[in-house]
Amino acid sequence: MTVTETLKRWWHQLGSPRWFYEISGPWQTGFAVLALLLLAIGTVWGLAIAPMDYQQGNSFRIIYVHVPTAIVSQTVYMLMGAAGLVLLVWRMKLADMVLAAAVPFGMSMTALALFTGAVWGKPTWGAWWVWDARTTSMLVLLFLYFGLYALRQAIPRNEAAGRACAVLALVGTVNIPIIKYSVDWWLTLHQPATFKLTEAPSMPPEMWLPLLLNVLGIYCFFAANLIGRLKLTILERESGTRWVRELIAGRSP
């Protein structure tokens, strides 16, 4: 009884941009600091200290950028799919804002993953680009991000644009399992997973620990970035309401 009540209250609060604005400040700083720490340690460790690969040599170090960006770009899309669902079903304002705020980050991470993949592919595979299932589905992801961006630009009214993007984001989530499992379902030039949920990674710890740090770091970076953008969006969209006006008046008396 009380649990459901607390849950309900919490859900209701989440729907309130004001509440979010007010509680999220410390979180943003926290995530930002964590991100900085993790990324700094992970990157230095990965690029300078970790051993090189017996086959690839030093070009293997691209992994420390490639894998975190590739993973986070999919997570961001999943998050947008979830936000889309919440928006369509519960009409929660915050979900719309998440949907809008996450696109640039996801888009740049996808682009970065593609770019690092291409840079890595040249020495390893012998080609910048091949049309295999993993690379292609990743390119499709980039275009889905483009589509979300363009659709929002094309629709003048924020609310309508948000819902249209929600539909597109939901439709696009089918691409995520394809990205993930393409290396298992089809013969791809891209390697199969090194890290699996059920088995130990086919990589020694001194190689995967910095990678883990970078992955965690980029998630923190995303969280900080998302909260920052959300706060801006909230101020912009709610600029007509009293609390925002009071907030601005209070800041610059």
Partner: protein, 196 residues
């Protein structure tokens, strides 16, 4: 819902950063007719679309019975013959009306003999008449009309009044945005006041 056709409480709407209306309350009982007035841009069409469920970004609550909506866009396919337009609408709403009944309705709105004419070949007013023929085809108790007099000649305007009267006699309710006098004696008025 057999009691109230429409119950609007605390309705408000902001468009383009301008507040159109606020804290609007309206209930329509069976047989009620309310004229929705206000200058250009005051939000009449928006209000009707909120009620019809075509514009979801409003504050407050709307509870409406099954409704028929006649908007600025008449909902008449220019590429279809007049009769086919009605026929499709009948099937859409699930009402099993025989073709002869459809033809009768066309006669009522002054389009006898036009059954097989493409709607694209009709004048502006005649197209609106096709849309009028649709009203009352299904049994929705609530009508939302947005400037139903548009493009109609005097005869056509009388027809609209007649249709409204008939609908009310059967217990239906009407909410009608208009710039003209509605010409219905006992109609209520909801005025949206000054623009902006």
């Amino acid at each position: 819902m057999s009691e109230l056709r429409l119950e609007v409480t605390g309705l408000g709407c902001v468009r383009e950063g301008r507040r159109l209306f606020q804290d609007l309350n309206l209930t329509l009982t069976p047989g009620a007719c309310v004229a929705l007035t206000g200058p250009n841009g005051s939000g009449k069409s928006t209000l009707l679309r909120c009620i019809a469920g075509l514009y979801p970004d409003y504050e407050g609550t709307v509870e409406a019975a099954e409704l028929s909506y006649l908007g600025h866009r008449p909902g008449v396919s220019p590429g279809l013959p007049v009769l086919e337009n009605l026929r499709w609408y009948a099937a859409l709403t699930g009402s099993r009306v025989p073709v002869t009944a459809l033809i009768t309705r066309l006669e009522i709105v002054g389009l006898a003999g036009y059954e097989d004419v493409l709607c694209a070949r009709l004048s502006a007013g005649q197209q609106r008449r096709v849309a009028l023929a649709r009203l009352g085809l299904d049994t929705s108790p609530l009508w939302l009309l947005d400037e139903p007099f548009t493009a109609l000649d005097t005869n056509g305007q009388a027809l609209v009044r007649q249709l409204i009267a008939g609908h009310r006699a059967q217990g239906g309710s009407v909410l009608c945005a208009t710039h003209q006098d509605l010409g219905v004696a006992d109609a209520g008025v909801l005025d949206l006041g000054a623009s902006g």
